[in-house]
């Protein structure tokens, strides 16, 4: 593994981005738990992360100039609608319990990504200090 600043933390920075985005989506679902006609949405994490890492079956998009939309930004368009388990009469598909569970799990995943990055930083610090600090 080469330690250029770009991939210093591996895929975890991108994963962190996605967890954060998923937190936003789930927060929106919970805020709209009583909105008539609101359709709950979620991020397909596996698909989006594969696209962000350029490992999807599609060809990744090359950016040749600043300001162009790169693969990571493209991968952000991975929102899908949740399949309702208990559709309600007003057309709302938010299941508050399921959303809460997903939100809690998402928080743990986010913290896991943070831990990986912290471990990486610690490793580098050890290398820099030669194990003295």
């Amino acid at each position: 593994m080469s330690l250029t600043p770009d991939n210093l933390f591996g895929i975890h920075t991108q994963a962190l981005d996605l967890w954060q985005r998923r937190t936003e989506v789930l927060a929106n679902n919970l805020a709209n738990a009583d909105t008539p006609g609101y359709l709950a949405r979620d991020v397909d994490f596996r698909k989006v992360l594969a696209a962000a890492g350029g490992a999807s079956d599609k060809l990744p998009l090359q950016t040749t100039a600043p300001g162009q939309i790169g693969a990571a930004d493209q991968a952000m368009d991975g929102l899908a609608y949740r399949v309702p388990t208990q559709p309600s009469m007003d057309g709302n598909t938010v299941d508050a319990q399921a959303e809460q569970a997903a939100f809690a799990a998402n928080g743990v995943h986010y913290q896991a990504s943070l831990s990986f990055i912290t471990a990486q930083i610690r490793m580098l610090r050890t290398a820099i200090n030669g194990g003295q600090g």
């Binding site: 919970l30 709209n32 009583d34 809460q100």
Partner: protein
Amino acid sequence: MSLFSIFNVAGSGMAAQSLRLNTVASNLANADSVATTPEAAYRAREPLFAAVKSRLDGGDAPGEGVQVLGVTESQAAIPSRYEPGNPLADADGYVYSSNVNPVDELVNMISASRSYQNNVEVMNSTRQLMQKTLDLGK
């Protein structure tokens, strides 16, 4: 977009739910109000919620919370009562009471307070995640 926007989203949810609680309080307080005419009688009020779409792009953004489009009045029939002794009674001795259904209102109240708590939890969790992010590398 960042974790900060979640505070706005959860905040909008809390504002909407507290407005709903407000209408419930108003409805319950006026459950026994009477009036001289059916038009002047109190009608149960209910807020109308709608999702806020993101201004930036066509619909693939996570959205920006919830908004209250307005407060609607119930179109249920206004019940009349024969109370000749009531100072508000009309010429025939009838008063018109509100069309508030207390059972509906209590259900609404519980639902609103649960949703409010959900939004508070979202805000708390987000705050913890941000704090953890700030402590990165320590």
